[in-house]
Symmetry: C2
Subunit: 163 residues, 2 copies
Amino acid sequence: MQFSKSTDYALHALIHLGHAERCSNVGIKELSGSLGVSESYLSKIMSKLRQDGIVRAVPGVNGGYELARAADRITFLDVIQVMEGRQKLFECSNTNSRQHRLLAEEGTARRERDKERTGKNECLVEKVMEGAEQHLHQYLRERTIQSVLDEAFKRCSHEANKK
Amino acid sequence: MQFSKSTDYALHALIHLGHAERCSNVGIKELSGSLGVSESYLSKIMSKLRQDGIVRAVPGVNGGYELARAADRITFLDVIQVMEGRQKLFECSNTNSRQHRLLAEEGTARRERDKERTGKNECLVEKVMEGAEQHLHQYLRERTIQSVLDEAFKRCSHEANKK
DNA sequence: ATAACGTGGACCTACGGTGTCCATAATAAA
DNA sequence: TTTATTATGGACACCGTAGGTCCACGTTAT
Ligand code: SF4
Ligand code: SF4
């Protein structure tokens, strides 16, 4: 239950791009140097980010990457879902166990009615887990690349103030 | 970024134990049959739960497992942390990159002062991630084995009512 | 004593995260 | 046009770990 290093790298790369938005684009060399990750691997990550429309890439001389939209419209959730995939936090595996029939199918007829009425017939365990997932997602949706940048800037100016 | 199957099994096993609290203990055979998981593997999981004080085990004839404390004092978070380990959601890897120095160490002197004053000198990315983790944990702390049992019972009685 | 039952270690397998290398395509500059 | 630069995508290697099996051992009731 941990985020992968790729997610780590992706976030840092995007922060770098956001920080250097003045100049149109940033090459893989600069990113690699800044993050301390090999160019080969980092390019894989950037490619993924591009395929999902988080960044734009221009090939050729003086090419590089730039954010595909404003930094305050790129949420942590976006990045995490691109890198980690969109699999659910909890995926029930044994729906044909005796246990399952006890918990989620007492009175099959009733379940069917429920399904028709409410449209969803989740089991109780899944309900808890999906709730957890929703909470997590909501939180991550509220944090953007820009918000990190802002806070870093605040720290910085605060520092300058003191001098 | 998914919970492992072991966590799934552990939750179901505990629900089974909670459901059958009347009789003192439940053997691995019954659990295995109920969940549809091999006895060998399930016993590993139960063993882990025992080492962390979630269940008690009695060896010998007519032995088995029972909850070590009331079902409403066993939270989802407890179970998940036992099975998944207590690793943080996000573990920074490249603290010696140029990027890091930019984000988390502008004015090292100031950082040091911060450290002394507040006791924590997290970087901004970690701060976001730890916030997410706290939210998730809080949610999972509020759900217990008992709460699932209760809801299942409610469904059941509701069903009986209708007849 | 013996049969039932949990424990823990050794071991296996498959898959995915991490990472490298290279051939190719696209583009700007010369 | 040629060349140097840069991103792209596929192939591949490595390795840790989730998932699972097996077995020898200790414990307990009958
Ligand atoms: S009770 Fe829920 S979690 Fe358990 S097997 Fe059925 S659907 Fe899956
Ligand atoms: S800025 Fe934060 S997340 Fe990034 S390397 Fe430094 S400590 Fe780690």
